[in-house]
């Protein structure tokens, strides 16, 4: 250990090895979780909250979360997007209780304080009191101002239909936040074409939220854990692929392409590879090239709460909602394009069988994350080891690396104040 003592509630020490170690307290400690809410989710970050296709019409709204803070996202009568904390200014009650819909505004059920679609307080019942004979009694003080008591607003920006929100009013534009490389991959899917929502899947996973973010930055596991992916050549260690990050390390993308089903150097270390595994109905994996490049797997992690998923033709936003140190909800918004033909929609819906809470691939991840959470804080080694592909954080042209997880922790330590004397 170095003397990398960090002034935190408990003097958390990051292991002297630096970004190739992750101390297990980051996944289990309630104080770390609270600091993440403050510094990350309510801090200078852009959080995914919706696709505009979910809110096509004035008055449309959905409820969601930024970190663990409940948020309403709306489209006002002029078409502008807004996001606000779903908490009445009066007594703190939940203002909007439905998942989505269309409304003129929101009325808290408790005392019927009413808010417009921008979150401004529009009315307070009995504000002027009531008449008792010829005398007016009760009511709010004369200097009570509606304008001072709206819902807490978040900054909102849409990038080609992807809606982000931030608690930081001074947040840089989304494009700048993403950086050139990540923007390229986001615009590869969101090029301005209107989307068609296919549906939402939700699951609650008994693991820390960072484990899913890391999972999608970790191509090493995908080549081993996922028998289904590997056996059918959908993702393999020996395919042309790369791992890229933005300049901070907080965002990353794994890019790969489908290969054939055959035993190769990439499967020799995989005891679970099944060369003779055949589908009785191969239409499950039937698909069509739809992007300019030949990449069939593009998994992008946008810090802190978004995963943009392309696996062949199944496209989805996975939104991470932390729920305490040891649980998170994963919300999968599946979509296609408004101009998809019937066959393409069928491909997307069928391939969705690979993903979600019942996904032929993703159930493995859920299991792995829950298994990690169950025992990571147990006595024994105090930190996870991330040395596959070296100890540095840099872009790589292969899959046998944990570089993007190291990149993530390089950034995480800085924003959380755990950087100490980094090695």
């Amino acid at each position: 250990m170095t003397d990398a003592v960090v002034a935190t509630p408990r003097n958390y020490l990051w292991p002297g090895e630096g970004n190739c170690r992750v101390p297990y307290w980051v996944y289990a400690d309630p104080a770390v979780y609270e600091r993440e809410q403050e510094r990350i989710f309510r801090g200078p970050t852009w959080n995914y909250v919706a696709l505009e296709a979910q809110l096509p019409t004035p008055g449309d709204f959905k409820t969601t979360f930024v970190g663990d803070t409940p948020v309403i996202v709306t489209r006002d009568q002029k078409g502008a997007l807004h996001a606000m904390v779903n908490k009445c200014a009066h007594r703190g009650a939940t203002v909007c209780r439905t998942q989505s819909g269309n409304a003129k505004g929101f009325t808290c059920i408790y005392h019927q304080w009413n808010y417009d679609l921008q979150g401004r307080l529009a009315g307070v019942p009995f504000r002027g009191g009531v008449l008792d004979g010829d005398r007016r009694v009760g009511g709010m003080p004369a200097d009570f101002s509606l304008a001072d008591h709206g819902l807490t607003k978040l900054k909102v920006e849409s990038l080609n239909g992807v809606v982000f929100a931030s608690f930081d009013p001074g947040m840089m534009p989304v494009r700048e936040y993403l950086g050139e490389t990540m923007l390229y991959y986001v615009e590869r899917v969101f090029d301005g074409r209107p989307l068609r929502m296919l549906g939402t899947l939700r699951q609650r996973i008994a693991a820390n939220w960072k484990l899913i973010f890391e999972n999608i930055k970790d191509p090493y596991h995908a080549t081993l854990l996922h028998v289904f992916l590997v056996s059918f050549g959908l993702f393999r260690a020996d395919q042309k692929s790369k791992v890229e990050m933005d300049s901070t390390g907080r965002h990353a993308v794994l890019v790969s392409r489908r290969g054939e089903q055959k035993a190769t150097a990439g499967t020799s270390d995989m005891s679970s590879f099944k060369a003779d595994y055949r589908l009785h109905d191969p239409t499950l994996l039937a698909g069509r090239r739809e992007f300019k490049d030949e990449n069939t797997v593009v998994m992008q992690t946008i810090f802190p709460n978004l995963i943009v998923q392309q696996q062949t033709n199944t496209l989805a936003m996975r939104q991470i909602v932390p729920q305490g140190p040891d649980h998170f909800e994963l919300v999968w918004d599946f979509f296609g394009y408004a101009d998809d033909d019937e066959e393409m929609t069928r491909f997307r819906l069928r391939q969705a069988n690979l993903m979600g809470p019942a996904g032929l691939v993703s159930v493995d991840d859920t299991e792995a994350m829950e298994m990690c959470q169950r025992t990571l804080a147990a006595p024994g080694a105090p930190a996870a080891i991330l040395e596959m592909g070296g100890r540095e954080c840099r872009n790589e042209e292969h899959m046998v690396t944990e570089t993007a997880i190291r990149g993530f922790y390089q950034y995480y330590r800085r924003i959380m104040g755990f950087d100490g004397e980094a090695v």
Partner: protein
């Protein structure tokens, strides 16, 4: 068959179906479907909004078989026991050669070494045909009430 006999047959089909799942005889599961049978598990949220996405879908018996093969050989999940209860069967029809059957279901899940918890609840919306006197699902749509799946869903509902 009389209406009463049809309802008895369908009740028997549902009893056999959930027993097959609870006893982990998954290889037999596709056999409860007609040759052109389809199976879909959808959330109430998507169903209510007329969104086409299923949580799990099999468009053919072959796809059901592939699910079973994946459960047995590819997917990674902790051992668990399931118990399906079915109640409140209502049968209408036949319409276009199929009876329309609806029933409520609850699935309890017990992780190995763990306690029993309600895993899922909802309704079965089924189309049932008789082939050689045998009742089979031509279509089985499972619409679950919960917004979220706790953990993962592997064994069919």
């Amino acid at each position: 068959m009389s209406n009463g006999e049809v309802k008895l047959e369908i009740e028997q089909l549902l009893t056999d179906y959930v027993e097959c799942l609870d006893e982990d005889r998954l290889e037999e599961w596709p056999e409860f479907f007609s040759e052109d049978g389809v199976y879909r598990v959808v959330s109430r949220e998507n169903a209510d909004r007329n969104l086409p996405l299923a949580t799990l879908s099999c468009e053919s018996k072959a796809m059901m078989l592939d699910r079973v093969t994946a459960i047995r050989n590819a997917s990674v999940f902790s051992p668990r026991y399931l118990r399906h209860l079915v109640s409140g069967l209502r049968v209408r029809g036949p319409e276009a050669g199929a009876y329309l059957a609806q029933a409520s279901y609850v699935v309890f899940q017990t992780m190995e070494g763990g306690e029993t918890a309600v895993f899922n609840a909802g309704r079965y919306v089924d189309k049932i045909v008789f082939a050689d006197g045998q009742a089979k699902f031509k279509e089985k749509i499972v619409i679950y009430d919960g917004a979220r799946i706790p953990g993962l869903l592997v064994i069919p509902l």
